[in-house]
Subunit: 371 residues, 2 copies
């Protein structure tokens, strides 16, 4: 198996990024990874977009790490996104906390972090920044943009905002406009963080949180983990297994599902910054691909990309019907031939796009074969 | 329209209530309401059981109140549960905070509230206490027991624990054993309460919380409100309406669904005690109608009641398949004729049993007509 040629990069931009809000980021930087090799004609590019708490580390493994990138099952030598053929780019989005400019970055020219002075960024802004990076790399066409959840929102923005850039837009487990259900879960998460006295109105010691955690963010993340699953998958995964040795009638005894939530919740603030979390969910909440257009149909009017829209049967966070709505809109404007809707039969819930890649990797590979 | 003859009562029990945990409550009291009139043969009784945050105030309206009891749509003169014919009893469950003995009650002989010294109570215990009340009232047969959600769990316990008591058991929007999904939502609620410094490990000033609220309980209740609805009903109810006047790009601007969660969350601890909440969700989490029996089938073996099992199509907290499982178990033990499963076509979610009574009140009325 060929090496996937994992490389980590950091790009500095001295010019301003003009944000949808009217504010600017100046300067800004973008952390990104690449896999595979850019060919001479620079036409073998695939852009991968990450979800809420994801990063640019989508595939491969660093020396000393025990875990691979978040979509390693899909990206690699001989895999659906074949790094032997394609040059794959995944950037950490604007507003995130893994090396790209976000709320914990220094607010130039001071050395202080932005914290709550960071501007609200949108999914459109994330894609705009990525496009500037592609420009710098001399890439003016990409074979495909692919992402799930918030990554799928970015993919759709590529289709609408840069209608001639990508041949294929592959958008999984997402929507054309974030629903009240998703906003409600985000609400619990944000309120829980804000209520924690150790959050200190955003002025917490960033390093201290990284080592000690933040209870409010842990609890907020628990709510998130519910939204990523489904009643069916939780029953299969955890059932009613009881793990405390202190008996069923102990008020604080735990079921297996509670231990899972504790574990994932408690660790979360140690690797994902709480202020960043508030900014990223804000971006998700206000995401509406139709903003600035009259309707979803008019937003999609100019795209020349093929849209590949993946809904997952038990995804409650982003219902398959929301993906289907995009397909219906494409059909309504006479672009049915460029729109392809796939319903993946899975009980897993929203996280299907991350954990049940076996169920759709074949379709992804097929799409990428097409011109 | 005849008066429903709403009466509020308080029953004192000097004897001990032996709990499933092996602990006892002694003395204990039960607050309850009655509607309609007990006939001479004492055979026109319907027991109504309330849900998590419900109370014995199921129907009618008190002087000065703007709101009626929680199932007023269903209970009253000429309604599905017709108080012209039936004598309806609804008790506040053991462990609750509306007059029945619970964590905020005085721990005899001291005047101090139990707080965390209160024993864990179960749904079985709630029903056992209710049965003692019926004994005291000289009622040895009831026409029906009915309840939704935690009330439906109680109804099922009547069928299993007192197999000769009720002619009809009507259980809505519940399960035979609480699922991991429901436990997960309860986890977020409990953890959020426990994390609030003003909870003070359960030693908070009860009156102060009642007037000022408790942020942790408010946030926990927000998670609860998500679980009561469905993605579909939230989209219909709130859509993406934005209610803040400070613009979409304000980090703390609110969508309509957020305002709804704020309102319901913030008010919750002012009318529902946080410690009580922790105890009641514990009872729900450890609810399993089969406990003490080998299987669900063997638990149902002795019942002589007709089971009427109502699932609601978009109820995620208690899936219709969980109600259907009870029906299948009844069939498996040759009691199919005594088991009746109804699937109510509703998009509303778990709260359907409270807000979409129009969709099933006719069936309830029909059932109550039967001998």
């Amino acid at each position: 198996m060929a090496d996937i040629n994992l490389k980590t990069h950091q790009a500095q931009f001295k010019n301003a990024l003009y944000l949808e809000s009217g504010r600017i980021l100046e300067p800004f930087e973008i952390a990104y990874e690449t896999y595979g090799r850019l060919n001479d004609t620079k036409d073998n590019v695939i852009v991968v977009c990450h979800a809420l708490s994801g990063s640019h580390h989508a595939a491969g493994q660093y020396d000393g790490d025990t875990k691979s990138g978040w979509w390693d099952a899909l990206i690699g030598s001989g895999k659906a996104i074949d790094t032997d053929r394609f040059f794959v780019i995944c950037t950490n989005t604007i507003g995130s906390c893994f090396g790209t400019t976000g709320p914990t970055s220094q607010m130039y020219p001071s050395l202080d972090p932005y914290r709550l002075k960071f501007p609200v960024v949108t999914i459109k802004d994330m894609v705009k920044a990525q496009r500037l990076l592609l420009d710098r790399l001399g890439i003016s066409k990409v074979h495909a943009v692919i992402g799930g959840s918030m990554g799928g929102m970015q993919a759709l923005h590529y289709a609408v905002d840069f209608p001639n850039l990508a041949t294929h837009i592959i958008s999984l487990a997402t929507t054309h406009a974030t629903s009240a259900w998703a906003i409600a879960f985000n609400k619990v998460a944000a309120q829980s963080i804000l209520a924690d006295p150790n959050f200190e109105g955003g002025n917490y010691d960033i390093d201290a949180i990284r080592s000690q955690g933040l209870r409010g963010a842990a609890i907020g993340r628990m709510a998130g983990h519910i939204s990523f699953l489904s009643p069916e998958s939780m029953s299969v995964k955890f059932g009613r297994d009881y793990v405390s040795t202190d008996g069923l009638f102990d008020l604080f005894g735990k079921f297996q599902v509670e231990r899972y939530l504790d574990y994932n919740g408690d660790n979360f603030p140690k690797w994902f910054d709480p202020l960043t979390f508030i900014y990223i969910i804000k971006a998700i909440n206000i995401y509406d691909i139709s903003r600035g257009h009259d309707t979803l149909e008019s937003a999609l009017q100019k795209t020349r990309s093929h849209l590949h829209l993946f809904g997952f049967k038990r995804d409650l966070l982003f219902l398959p019907t929301e993906m289907k709505a995009i397909d219906l809109a494409m059909n309504a404007i006479g672009k049915g031939e460029m729109s392809h809707y796939y319903l993946v039969d899975s009980d897993y819930g929203h996280d299907s796009f991350l954990v049940e890649t076996k169920k759709f990797e074949g379709i992804i590979a097929d799409i990428l074969e097409r011109k």
